[in-house]
Every structure is written in structure tokens, then in C-alpha cells.
């Protein structure tokens, strides 16, 4: 960066001297350390920062809770991190309308606590603790409840973004039903900071369920896991989540059921009845429920995590292909978990033998893309990422993705190099 002190001085003017500091190794993203970290406190400040960044040709990476900064390939260039920690205000919560408006730096946990006072919730339950709304949107984070409530795109109703050159734009509104203009909220969902910085967002809320219980069945084979899942999926029981834990020593399908107290027993009974043909069915205790969450930060330091998307009805063959490929590459039985009802599977395996890991990922990619599925590196060491991209090739829509990126970020200053197709 030229005239570093000049830029720092200008930034100080925009965000205040307390809210800018030099970056440390802690701030490095995939081995690339930026020069500065700024913490703007308003949309105007973000805009000011980005205007400067555009003027100076800085590569910028937005950051919320920092829980998913590892997601993506290594950045091609990184000069400035724009942190949303100070953008932590819940601007509006109208329980009667079941919506809220908040700044991007609001942590999900804090939001849920505040909203629950009105017996409501944002129906998103990603596993990462400390994640912020902006990051959740940008990374399209989700958890088990996506089965019933959908993902970010099904819950977000409005957004304010700041583009690479400081342009501020909003889309959507604070009403759930709205078709005025283009749905930019959805465009920015999962965009991983490559189109712009998410400054505020509006979401729709759901009532907090009054009662819940988890029913689980032990399965013995991939085919059984599939059939058990399908039996719940095609029933009328309206489950909230269907999760799979498939490890060498434990193979369990858990079904989260939520309802009003008066309807709880009937739901549990129906679900148990449907599952009992596959194995032993039991209701989980609260402790067990907590323990059986989706794949959280890896148990083993160098565990590699793949995320697989496949048609839900092919769960059995997905599992079989994973186990088969692992065996062929000489890998130990992977630790598999997943949102079985929606076709998302996480595969955790040891990264000790990097060549085997590369081969395994390659094979999984080949199998899945043939069936129109996808494989993403959810968590992997830098050395592996240098050999294998985080992302699949992308289908024939890659050209369109590129064009959108070029329009929103013509100078390539937003998180360059981290996304699909090297964007």
C-alpha cells in the first residue's frame, strides 16, 4: 500500500481512531495477513471506508464473528478487513408482524435471546458459536432446522449492502410478502463477501415451539439410513429436523419433533411407529440431544471436513460411495453426519495422508458431479487447499456467476480469489 500512514489517517477520520488497528497474525485468512482492521459503526462509515478502498485499490474482506473466514480458497490479495463488531444494533423487532431488522454484526445468540422474550425465534441454527447475521447470510450457514424452515434464502426479507466503491443499496423491505424489484437479498446469500458488504438485514420470525422431543433409531447400513429417513420425509408428521450420525461405532438417525404440548405425544408416537421397523427406537434425553448436534469444529486437529450436497433420496448410495472411496484410499472410517432429510452430508476424515485426502476429494467430486450433486471443502489445511479447490467446477452457470461478479465488483476488490472459479 502506498502512503500507508495517509490511508490509515483517512480511515481514522471515517471510523474514529479507536476503531482502526494494525492487523496481527490472528487476522490472517488462509495464510494471508492484511495490513489493517477497521470497525465501522454505521452504514455511512462502511460506505466511507469502501470509497477509500476503491480509490486506493485495496482488497477488502468483510468479517463478522470470524467463524467461517476459513471457508474458501486463499485470497489472492488482502489489504483490509472490515469488521462488523460495532454494527451490533437490533434496529427493530415487531413481534406482531413477526419480523426484525438488525445490523450485520449482531450475534445470532444475542438475537435469539432477545427475540425469545416474545416467544419467537429466527429459525436458523448453524453450529458455529459467535456467528453474526452478516456472516450467516454471506456463508449461507444453516443447521438441522433447515429441514422444516428452510435456509437463509427462505427467511431473509430485506438487506442493505455496501458495494466495493461505497455505493449503498437496499432491496426487499420489512414485510414478508414483497415482489418489488429484484431479490438482492437472495443474491447476496452465500456470496461470501465477494459482491459487497452486508450492512443490515431483515428477517421473518417464527413462533418458539412450546414442546420438543427427539426420537432416535439405530440403523445398521447406508440403505437402512436412507429408508428410515425417507419414511419420515414422506410421512405427514411434519418433523423439524432429521439428522444422521454415521460413524464406525455409532449409527444413529435422530428426528427432532416440535409441537404444542397437546400434539407432542401423537407426533412422537407416529414417528416412533414409522422408525421402529428399522431398529431400536428411543427418545433422547436432553443431554444426549446436545451431544448429537451436527458436525462442530473437528474433534481431531487435522480433520478435514467435506460438505456434500446430493438428492435426499440417494442418501444410501452417497454413504456407500463415501465409505467405498475412503476404503480405496486407505482412510479410516470417516465420521459422517448430516441433515439427512435435505441431502446435506458432512464427512470428517483424517488429513494425515494428504495424497490420500486429495484422491478422496477428487473421487467424491467425480461421483457427485455425475449425479448433479456438489462437494465443498468445508474445513481443510492450507496445503490441501493449494492442491484442491474448495469448490467444484460449477455447472454451466459459471459464466453467469462471473458476469454478476464483474458487474458488482469490477475492480475485483471484494475477497478476490476465494470463490467459485477463482473469482
Amino acid at each position: 500500500m502506498q502512503t500507508e500512514r495517509g490511508i490509515t489517517g483517512d480511515l481514522r477520520q471515517i471510523v474514529g481512531s479507536d476503531n482502526i488497528r494494525e492487523a496481527t497474525t490472528e487476522d490472517a485468512i488462509e495464510g494471508v495477513q492484511p495490513a489493517l482492521v477497521v470497525e465501522p459503526g454505521s452504514v455511512e462509515e462502511i460506505s466511507g471506508v469502501m470509497k477509500l478502498a476503491a480509490r486506493e485499490g485495496l482488497a477488502v474482506s468483510p468479517r463478522g464473528g470470524g467463524t467461517k473466514t476459513h471457508l474458501g480458497d486463499a485470497p489472492r490479495q488482502l489489504d483490509l478487513i472490515v469488521s462488523t463488531t460495532r454494527m451490533n444494533e437490533i434496529m427493530e423487532h415487531t413481534p406482531g408482524d413477526q419480523i426484525f431488522r438488525a445490523e450485520a454484526g449482531v450475534r445470532l445468540e444475542d438475537l435469539q435471546e432477545r427475540i425469545s422474550e416474545s416467544d419467537q425465534m429466527l429459525a436458523l441454527d448453524p453450529p458455529e458459536s459467535g456467528a453474526t447475521l452478516g456472516g450467516i447470510i454471506a456463508a449461507n450457514s444453516s443447521g438441522p432446522r433447515r429441514y422444516k424452515y428452510g435456509t437463509v434464502r427462505d427467511l431473509i426479507i430485506g438487506i442493505t449492502v455496501v458495494l466495493h466503491d461505497g455505493t449503498v443499496a437496499k432491496a426487499g423491505s420489512k414485510v414478508v410478502k414483497n415482489v418489488a424489484g429484484y431479490d438482492l437479498s437472495k443474491l447476496f446469500t452465500g456470496s461470501l463477501g465477494t459482491l459487497g458488504i452486508i450492512a443490515t438485514a431483515n428477517f421473518r420470525l417464527h413462533p418458539l415451539p412450546k414442546a420438543s422431543r427427539t426420537v432416535a433409531v439405530e440403523v445398521e447400513s447406508p440403505q437402512q439410513a436412507q429408508e428410515a429417513t425417507q419414511s419420515i420425509v414422506h410421512s405427514q408428521v411434519e418433523a423439524t429436523a432429521i439428522e444422521l450420525h454415521y460413524a464406525e461405532d455409532e449409527k444413529l438417525l435422530t428426528v427432532l419433533l416440535e409441537s404444542i404440548p397437546g400434539g407432542m405425544d401423537a407426533k412422537v408416537e407416529t414417528a416412533s411407529f414409522l422408525l421402529k421397523q428399522f431398529g431400536e427406537v428411543r427418545t433422547l434425553s436432553e443431554e444426549e440431544e446436545d451431544h448429537l448436534g451436527p458436525l462442530t469444529p473437528p474433534a481431531v486437529a487435522d480433520e478435514i471436513v467435506l460438505k456434500l450436497g446430493a438428492p435426499p433420496a440417494e442418501l444410501g448410495s452417497v454413504l456407500e460411495s463415501v465409505l467405498g472411496a475412503a476404503e480405496r484410499r486407505g482412510l479410516a472410517h470417516p465420521r459422517i453426519t448430516g441433515h439427512a432429510g435435505t441431502g446435506v452430508t458432512f464427512i470428517g476424515f483424517s488429513g494425515e495422508d494428504e495424497d490420500a485426502a486429495v484422491g478422496f476429494v477428487g473421487e467424491m467430486r467425480e461421483i457427485q458431479t455425475r449425479k448433479s450433486g456438489n462437494v465443498t471443502l468445508q474445513r481443510a489445511p492450507l496445503t490441501l487447499k493449494q492442491r484442491v479447490s474448495t469448490w467444484d467446477n460449477g455447472g454451466d452457470y459459471l459464466g453467469l456467476v462471473r458476469r454478476v461478479k464483474e458487474k458488482f465488483d469490477p475492480r475485483g476488490g471484494m475477497n478476490p480469489g476465494r470463490y467459485l472459479g477463482g473469482l
Binding site: P95, G96, Q98, T151, R153, D154, T167, K170, S173, V175, K177, N178, V179, A180, G181, Y182, D183, L184, K186, L187, T189, G190, L195, H206, P207, H234, S235, Q236, V237, E238, S259, G262, G263, A266, K267, K307, G309, A310, P311, P312, A313, Q368, K371, S372, G373, N374, W391, D392, G394, G395, D396, Y397, G399, L400, V401, V404, E406, K407, F408, L420
Partner: protein
């Protein structure tokens, strides 16, 4: 390109039976469901396959001819209004259901497939397609996609965008791309499908659409409740939401609407200031208990009459009353103007009051039908076209109603779209920057601005440099437009 050569070229792709060029025939396409705007298209073409669509669009792209896509032509915002000197691409002959995949709860259809056919196709398997706009017996899936159509059941089940999983799209340059992932979740890259749904035909034409199917619920309970005035009915809505109950649908009709519906379909509605149709569905035990609570809430809000549907036939009767509401207006008025506005639910009483004030000020009756659950209003401004000046008054009144919605934190449109009709209001909801950024998306898909140009945005904006020899866009020549 000279017209006769264009006709020959199109006939080469589609055969003579696929090209309409005679004047009187073209006139029948000059408007969609909104008769206030009419433009005679240069040519109307009727493709039967995705390949036809691709070749038509490529031809238009090569010759710089703008085009508009149209389904059944039932849209209420003029989204399928043809563009002058342009081609109208009508998808009604692409009506095959291509693939049914019950295990993955998906179905793949062509854009001309009628909404209700989808549910009928999978009814035997115990599934249905949830988005049910009032026009579902005639509107096409392609049109639903373009407008992100809603319906009475979208409070619980969402809109078209929540039920479209993938699409094969012909882009305005004639290339074909597949967006959305289809069967597999979380495809990498931007949510292009999410941006495409609701883009009103300005980003391309979908030629194959993958839809999500929903399991028919175990139990359905429907009631019809009458109230002396809309306040009572509004109280019920707040009460239900406050309890944390999410009904499958809550619909409200006011006195004038009830009168019209009675005249048209004679469902035997009670004489009341407002009527609510409330439906709950889901697992039986849950529905049973919640329904009981809903009945209590109705009584707490002084419902003058409550009818619970005893069987499917009676349930169909309640819904028939609601679904026939627009058409029924013809019985009590010569003409009517359907407006579509959205407000936060909590603002309902204030907005209704304001609408009735406006109605008095203008001296025109306004009937109100709405999706009370999500604050989506359909005020129907009744007027007589033959009375001089009344049509303009009606339009102005409808405009004022939309401004009221904006003032109360709502939106310009809940489900009918911006199209031609509401683009003049866009600046009231969005700043220039907002619209410029939306335009970036459009330029990514359609740099030459050929797909349904002139819709959604009030002032035409071009997309920057065009490769090749410089052609001055006719609007630029006229000095109307800025280079963007």
C-alpha cells in the same frame, strides 16, 4: 431486420403454425390481464420446445430485437405487455410435465404447464404443489416464476421462490444455462435462481422448471367467521399470531366483497362487515388443539357467526367464495381496478381506515379482499368506465392506496409485480442507488437489454459499452436515456 424476413426466419424455426403475424390476430395479444396498457407486438411466436425458445432468442439477439415472454396472459401488472417493434414469445404450447420424482419430492415441468395441473399430477401420491394464486386454474408455472406468485396459503408455505429448486434458462443472448441445483441442495455460487424468480421476465426465459412438492397434510380444518366490522376480524388475526399459531391461511373480505360474491356464486355468506376464512393444517392432534383455540379467539373478538366446515364440500364452498371474489366484482360494478399492496400486519387497522377515507374523498367504492395473515391487500376500486373521468380517478385512488402502504412501512406490491403498471412508483420505494444496483444484476444477465425492456424500472438505463460497431440505442437517439 425487415419484417417479412423475420417472419420467414421464425417460420423456419417453428413452422407456419408457430408464427402469428396477421394484424387482427396480433391485436388479441396486445395486453395481458391488465387492459389499461396495450401495445401491438410486431410478431407473436409459439415455441413448443426449449430448443425453439433458444433459437428464437438467439435470432432476436443477433438482430437486436427486443422480446417479451408470456404465459397464459393473466398477469395483473402488465408484465407481459408487448414491447413496440418487438417479438412476443408465448409459452402456452410448452405444456408437458417432464418428470415426476416422488422420492426426492420434485417435479420438472415446462413453463406453459398450468399451476393446478402440477398438483393434479401428483395427487394420487399424496402430494401437491403449494403456491396457489387465485388464477391457478389458468396461470402458468412460467408466469408464476416471473412474478413470484403467492396465493392464500403462502403464510405457512411460502411463495413460488420457496418452491422452485432449479431451472433451465435461456439467457437473452440465446445461450442456455442451468441455475439452482435442482435436486441437490447448496450448489456453490450465487443464488442466481433466487434472483431470477420474481424478475418479471427481464433476465431470461425459463424452459424447464424443477418444483418442490409438499406432502398433503394429515388434517385440515377450515372455518368461516363473520364480524360486525374489520376491527373485530383484525383482532382475531393478531390474536392468532400472538398465540404462536401459524395458520395455513387467513383471508379477509369486507362487506362490499361479500355482497359481490353472494351475487356471483351464492355461497350463502352471512351479512357482515367482514368475514374471515381461516384454515389450519398439519398433524391431526396439533390441528385439533390449535383449531379449538382459534375458535375461542374468534369468540373473544365477538364473531357474530362461526361456521366450521363439516366436510371437503363445505370447505370447497368457503374457498370458492374467496377465490371468486375478483371476478364477482363484475356483478356489482361495471369496471374495477385491482390494486395490490402490502403492509405490516400491525398496520392493518390504520390502513383500512385510511382506505375508507380515500374512498369517501374520491367518491368511489372500494371493496377489500386480503391475505390478512401477511398483510397483502387487494383493494378493488369500483368505477364506471363510461362515466367521464372516472377511470382516471380510479387509477389515482389506487395509486394513493399504494402510497399509503408505503407510508406505513409496506411495499409497492405483494404478489402482482411491478411490470408496466407500477414502475412509476418505484422511486417512491427505492433510491436511485438502489435501482442502479438492481440494474447491475440486469446487465449481468442481459447486457443488450432485450428481455422485456421497459418493465420494472421507470427510466431506461443502458448497460455500458457494447462490443462491435457502435449502435445508438433508439432511446439514446431520442435523448431519453442515460448511459449507465
Amino acid at each position: 431486420m425487415e419484417r417479412s424476413r423475420l417472419i420467414t426466419a421464425m417460420e423456419g424455426i417453428l413452422g407456419t403454425e408457430g408464427v402469428i403475424h396477421e394484424h387482427e390476430q396480433l391485436r388479441t395479444y396486445e395486453c395481458d390481464g391488465l387492459m389499461n396498457y396495450r401495445v401491438i407486438p410486431d410478431l407473436v411466436v409459439l415455441p413448443e420446445t426449449g430448443e425453439h425458445v433458444q433459437r428464437i432468442v438467439k435470432l432476436c439477439y443477433d438482430e437486436g430485437i427486443p422480446f417479451v415472454a408470456r404465459g397464459s396472459g393473466t398477469g395483473l401488472s402488465g408484465g407481459a405487455l408487448p414491447v413496440k417493434s418487438g417479438v412476443l414469445i408465448v409459452l402456452t404450447r410448452m405444456r408437458k410435465i417432464l418428470e415426476v420424482d416422488i422420492p426426492n419430492q420434485r417435479i420438472v415441468v415446462e413453463p406453459g404447464v398450468i399451476n393446478i395441473w402440477v398438483s393434479q399430477e401428483v395427487a394420487d401420491e399424496g402430494y401437491y404443489y403449494a403456491p396457489d394464486p387465485a388464477s391457478q386454474i389458468v396461470s402458468s408455472i412460467g408466469g408464476n416464476l416471473a412474478e413470484n406468485s403467492g396465493g392464500v396459503h403462502c403464510l405457512k408455505y411460502g411463495f413460488t421462490t420457496n418452491h422452485v429448486m432449479g431451472a433451465e434458462v435461456v439467457l437473452p443472448d440465446g445461450s442456455v444455462t442451468h441455475i439452482g441445483g435442482g435436486l441437490a441442495p447448496d450448489a456453490p455460487g450465487y443464488d442466481l435462481l433466487g434472483a431470477f424468480v420474481g424478475s418479471e421476465g427481464t433476465l431470461g426465459i425459463a424452459t424447464k422448471i424443477t418444483l418442490r412438492l409438499v406432502r398433503v397434510p394429515e388434517s385440515v380444518q377450515t372455518l368461516l367467521a363473520a364480524f360486525e366490522d374489520p376491527e373485530g376480524a383484525g383482532g382475531v388475526v393478531s390474536g392468532i399470531i400472538g398465540e404462536g399459531i401459524i395458520p395455513a391461511a387467513i383471508e379477509m373480505m369486507d362487506r362490499l366483497t361479500i355482497e359481490a360474491v353472494e351475487a356471483a356464486v351464492h355461497p350463502g355468506l352471512p351479512d357482515a362487515g367482514a368475514v374471515l376464512v381461516i384454515e389450519l393444517d398439519g398433524p391431526e392432534a396439533e390441528v385439533e388443539e390449535q383449531f379449538g383455540r382459534v375458535l375461542e379467539i374468534c369468540e373473544e373478538n365477538e364473531a357474530t357467526e362461526i361456521r366450521v366446515a363439516e366436510d371437503d364440500a363445505e370447505r370447497a364452498l368457503f374457498w370458492k367464495a374467496r377465490k371468486a371474489a375478483f371476478g364477482a366484482m363484475g356483478r356489482i360494478s361495471n369496471d374495477y381496478y385491482v390494486q395490490d399492496g402490502v403492509i405490516p400486519r400491525t398496520e392493518l387497522p390504520a390502513v383500512l381506515k385510511r382506505i375508507s377515507e380515500l374512498s369517501e374523498d374520491y367518491g368511489l367504492r372500494v371493496a377489500n379482499v386480503f391475505h390478512a395473515g401477511d398483510g397483502n391487500l387487494h383493494p378493488l376500486v369500483l368505477y364506471n368506465n363510461s362515466t367521464e373521468g372516472e377511470a382516471e380517478k380510479a387509477e389515482k385512488l389506487a395509486g394513493d392506496i399504494v402510497f399509503t402502504c408505503l407510508e406505513h412501512g409496506g411495499s409497492l406490491t405483494g404478489e402482482h409485480g411491478i411490470g408496466e403498471d407500477k414502475k412509476k412508483y418505484m422511486p417512491k420505494m427505492f433510491t436511485d442507488d438502489d435501482m442502479n444496483v438492481m440494474q447491475l444484476l440486469r446487465c449481468a444477465f442481459d447486457p443488450h437489454q432485450l428481455a422485456n425492456p421497459g418493465k420494472i424500472f421507470p427510466t431506461p438505463r443502458l448497460c455500458g459499452e457494447r462490443p462491435g460497431p457502435f449502435h445508438m440505442h433508439p432511446l439514446q437517439k431520442a435523448g431519453i436515456v442515460e448511459q449507465f
